[in-house]
């Protein structure tokens, strides 16, 4: 059983993470309105899509003149990582039916990070729910606040709000640039996107950069081949790879 003290600590940590993501929510709300989405559409994105980087991607593509559909496809490509989070969470949380369907909406970076490190199912569930609910509440409140502020500010270029979009993407990307292969992928993606901008429809260059992820993944896969040998210590139990 989980003691009350442990439970309180886990919940407190989850709420702290939720408050921290509020800052992202304000930026998202303001940027989304600057990109041409209404306040209602902006709030619908945070309520219904509820996965930050994908939401930023959709409004970012639209802000740079891309078709809303290319924005949606880019957002969906970015959201595939939530599937992998779900795979790790499923045996830990072990929910079925309606609970699983409801929990799925809360599968994001933060709730996963605050759940997979726990030592028992009980703690994992508390960490997942506390973080997921806190982030959901504050992300949506902050989105509304940011959207209303963005609307009051008016023309985005006057205040440099358009420059804020690039900075927001860079800040989301920054922690991942410590890895050498990731830096290579980043450089190639930038180069490919800029080469394609003059010759393709807006939105296509970003989608095409997804191919860089495929290419770099395949080319550097020798690094991970060794882990494909079954029975190694670092594999999860039951790691069948063929």
């Amino acid at each position: 059983m989980t003691s009350d003290a442990t439970r309180r600590t886990i919940i407190r940590d989850g709420v702290a993470v939720g408050i921290a993501t509020g800052a992202y929510g304000i930026s998202f709300g303001a940027i989304s309105v600057a990109a041409g989405f209404s306040v209602l559409q902006t709030c619908a994105l945070s309520l219904l899509v509820f996965t930050g980087a994908s939401q930023f991607a959709l409004v970012g593509v639209v802000a740079s003149g891309g078709a809303a559909l290319s924005g949606a496809l880019t957002a969906l490509l970015l959201s595939t990582r939530n599937t992998l989070y779900g795979l790790r969470l499923a045996p830990l949380l072990a929910w079925t039916g309606g609970r699983r369907a409801a929990a799925a909406h809360l599968v994001i970076d933060e709730s996963t990070a605050m759940s997979v490190t726990r030592e028992s199912r009980d703690e994992a569930r508390i960490g997942f729910l506390a973080t997921g609910i806190a982030v959901f509440a504050l992300w949506n409140l902050a989105t509304l606040g940011g959207a209303l502020a963005g609307e009051a500010l008016g023309d985005p270029s006057t205040y440099g709000l358009d420059a804020a979009v690039g900075a927001a993407f860079l800040a989301l990307l920054w922690p991942r640039l410590r890895d050498r292969d990731n830096r290579l992928a980043a450089l190639l993606a930038v180069a490919l996107a800029l080469v394609l901008v003059p010759v393709t429809a807006a939105g296509v260059p970003v989608l095409a950069a997804g191919l860089v992820a495929l290419g770099v993944g395949l080319l550097t896969s020798k690094d991970v081949d060794s882990t494909e040998i079954p029975d190694r210590d670092d594999l999860p139990s039951g790691g069948e790879h063929e």
């Binding site: 209404s38 899509v49 990582r81 939530n82 920054w174 992928a185 494909e228």
Partner: protein, 99 residues
């Protein structure tokens, strides 16, 4: 069109989340799948930065947004929080345009 994109993204994003909780783990446990999934946000976010900052319609451009991005890099190197990074980039571009 905006609403269609919003609904498509919402439904798709939810199904990706639900799939992870529902399908047997072994199906997607190949290391290459994880590798590409890790690289995907890096490639897409990098391309988004480039397109957002260095293009104007179908043309390449170098303007106040690039200065904003440079200041954002400095803020990130100084470990500034997200909201500060975004604000200093916006302020830099805004001030440069007023000059």
């Amino acid at each position: 069109m905006m609403w269609a994109a919003i609904v498509l993204t919402a439904v798709g994003a939810y199904l990706f989340k639900l799939a992870g909780l529902s399908i047997p783990g072994a199906v997607l446990e190949h290391p290459l799948v994880h590798r590409i999934a890790d690289l995907m946000p890096v490639a897409l976010l990098s391309a988004l930065v480039a397109v957002q900052v260095f293009t104007d319609g179908p043309e390449l451009a170098l303007d106040a947004r690039a200065a904003g991005l440079a200041v954002a890099v400095v803020a990130l190197l100084l470990r500034a929080p997200f909201i500060v990074v975004v604000l200093v980039a916006a302020l830099t571009a805004g001030i440069l345009r007023m000059l």
